[in-house]
Symmetry: C2
Subunit: 403 residues, 2 copies
């Protein structure tokens, strides 16, 4: 597994572009992205569990019924959700770009992100589609930029791996900063690969992986209406098709996991207003469900998050969060550590405080990436969840998002 | 039902006091409270559902097995939770005050609130107990002050009501500002009454009432380890004992509900850093569970809370929160209104936005008490939940609570 450049354009046959078409007023912010495969690809997707689903989700689900796709179009600046004409607009987006690309509208994945409940004007997309297609190239950054909303950093990655003697590539871009929470809380993630894999195994890989990755990320406890992770595999690496759960599939899963874990860390670390990436590692759980619920409860606690913002080793809040996780854990077995590049410190042993250097703890917690390590000492299951601190800027960003 | 002065001392036979004994370093902040009934009282209590329970909770549960109590002692500044000697200290608190009052330690309700995981030094309580008892009087404010942590306002109320031709009184004090969430998320509430009611009916009244009141309050989604609502009824009003679910019981329930709703509003409105009290009224639900889960989901959403801080009529976030409530609701039937003393405005009809005056919405949302009114138009059940906005000051207060 080797990290390479190129994002979603690293795999053979994939091109992308991103432009400002006018959905956003600010002309310096791109607002329309396109990812295109030169040949038709197997495609798989997972969606938000929010009962309120954006119109693009409904249209994409319909289009992916045959497991095939050739393009992804995504706008930022407007979620096209809770609008009376949402479905119609999402279909128009597919039709317009399909016409420009000379492909079937049924092979288009459509996505939108931004404010909910404002009708999306199709005009800028109509006017911009030709430019978007002519801008297609081996440049992933433009599309990664065009899907950003309150993100402060571009999120992209690519890896190279070998299947069956053939070099394969996989790349991904993501957007996600606020309204992020376990339960398919990914915001938007688009992954491309030239690996040859059946649609069934592609969906299996994605559906399995997200349980350990995007479903373990929380920024603010709000599950969005428009979340989607889509992957397209066009097979141009020419390896023998992966059709079952064998060693090749495991290699594929490992590549996918490298992409998704990296993007999870990007999303959590770039959480709205965040100054720190929090990584909560829970071990010694009697079941994987317990491990996950405990980790999520900690990473979602506003009081833990503000304490981390203040670099305050207030471990009592971690025990408190474990206590309301609804998991039946033996409190008097729990150990808690804080860790960063500055070292590691034990703050709670067997569920009670231990003497520790506040000075050392402060030094550790002032770093940008913090591990909260919890050993439940009650079994063999472990997991990781990602989150971020809760800061003044989170409030600032969200206090007046629309205006 | 008449509002009267006197808080927990309004009912006959109840005295209270509050002093600074030295648990807190700041001498201007009281840290030890006592409520005392001249005669032994029937007592009932409900507790946090957090699996991590403060030592005082465990000791109080033991003491209330016989349904009787005569005193409540409560300190602030230290939760006496997650300490190896917690139970012993909580028992010592009971013993010390029982000895001063010349009552049985088994008739003492003991409570603590403050930082988790710092051993509680018993010395200041030993030294202060005599002063605490000698300060007892018809002054509820001192005890209400002594149980405050990050609260900015004293929370007390009393009512007068008639049962069976006899004038009865009921009073309450509360503390609660952060770490407040549905699931018995009350922080500490102590209620007194001179009404004559059996222990069974007293417990029934309390356990029923909290489902509509304290279990519908959220400030920050963190359920505390030390939450407790206790009520003592000493019978000195000399009404015929309430022993069944009759009209007299209904009158008693009404008095209790007046006390608890008022304290809920106080707690939510005084949420850490809050500038606004949010009251979410959900109607038209197909079940009471749906109504409650929808209301709680809205009131707990960080994005709704920050929008309210910014007086931003971003109703899409309300629909989004309904969508992840896990309740199966018909999105296309939902209407949403905002309301305050400045008027009422419809912002969403049948699940989609309607044209509305942003100026008028702003005027409404700039008020201190905001109603978020949601009609699911899908049944006859309704409920209310209370919360507050999420502000810079919440982050400030909690970023460095311990130091």
């Amino acid at each position: 597994m080797k990290l390479i450049n190129g994002g979603v354009c690293a795999p053979k046959g994939f091109l992308s572009s991103g432009i400002h078409c006018g959905i956003r007023k600010n002309k310096s912010k791109k607002d329309l992205a396109l990812i295109y495969s030169e040949t038709i690809a197997n495609a798989a997707s997972v969606y938000t569990l929010n009962e309120v689903k954006g119109a693009p989700i409904i249209v994409t689900k319909e289009h992916l019924k045959d497991g095939k796709a050739q393009a992804i179009i995504c706008n930022s600046g407007n979620a096209n959700t809770c609008n009376a004409n949402g479905i119609e607009i999402a279909k128009q987006m597919s039709n317009i770009i399909a016409s420009e690309l000379k492909i079937s509208p049924k092979d288009v994945i459509v996505a939108s992100t931004g404010v909910i409940g404002n009708p999306l004007d199709i005009t800028p997309i109509v006017n911009g589609a030709n430019n978007l297609v002519h801008s297609l190239g081996k440049n992933s950054i433009d599309s990664a930029e065009a899907i950003m909303t309150t993100d402060t950093k571009v999120k992209e990655i690519a890896v190279e791996f070998e299947i069956d003697g053939k070099i394969c590539h996989m790349g991904g871009i993501a957007k996600g900063s606020g309204m992020i929470h376990p339960d398919m809380a990914t915001m938007l993630v688009f992954i491309t690969t030239d690996c040859n894999i059946s649609q069934e195994m592609l969906q299996k890989a994605l559906s399995t992986d997200i349980n350990e990755t995007f479903n373990m990320v929380s920024v603010d406890g709000d599950t969005s209406t428009n979340d989607m992770v889509s992957i397209m595999a066009n097979g141009l690496a020419e390896n023998k098709e992966i059709t079952q759960d064998d060693d090749n599939f495991k290699t594929f899963m490992k590549a996918l996991n490298t992409i998704t874990v990296y993007l999870c860390r990007c999303i959590a670390g770039d959480g709205e207003g965040a100054t720190k990436l929090l990584e909560c590692k829970v071990s010694g759980a009697k079941s994987i469900t317990t491990a996950k619920n405990v980790a999520k409860s900690i990473i979602c606690s506003s009081l833990v998050k503000t304490a981390m913002f203040g670099a305050d080793a207030n471990w009592g809040r971690i025990l408190c969060a474990i206590g309301y996780s609804k998991e039946n854990v033996a409190i008097d077995k729990i150990d808690v550590y804080f860790k960063s590049d500055k070292g590691e410190i034990l703050v709670c042993k067997n569920g009670a405080g231990v003497a520790f250097s506040e000075e050392k703890a402060k030094e550790i917690l002032l770093e940008k990436e913090i591990e909260i390590i919890v050993n439940l000492n009650d079994g063999d299951n472990s997991t990781t969840a990602w989150g971020c601190d809760l800061t003044y800027d989170y409030v600032k960003i969200n206090g007046d998002y629309r205006t």
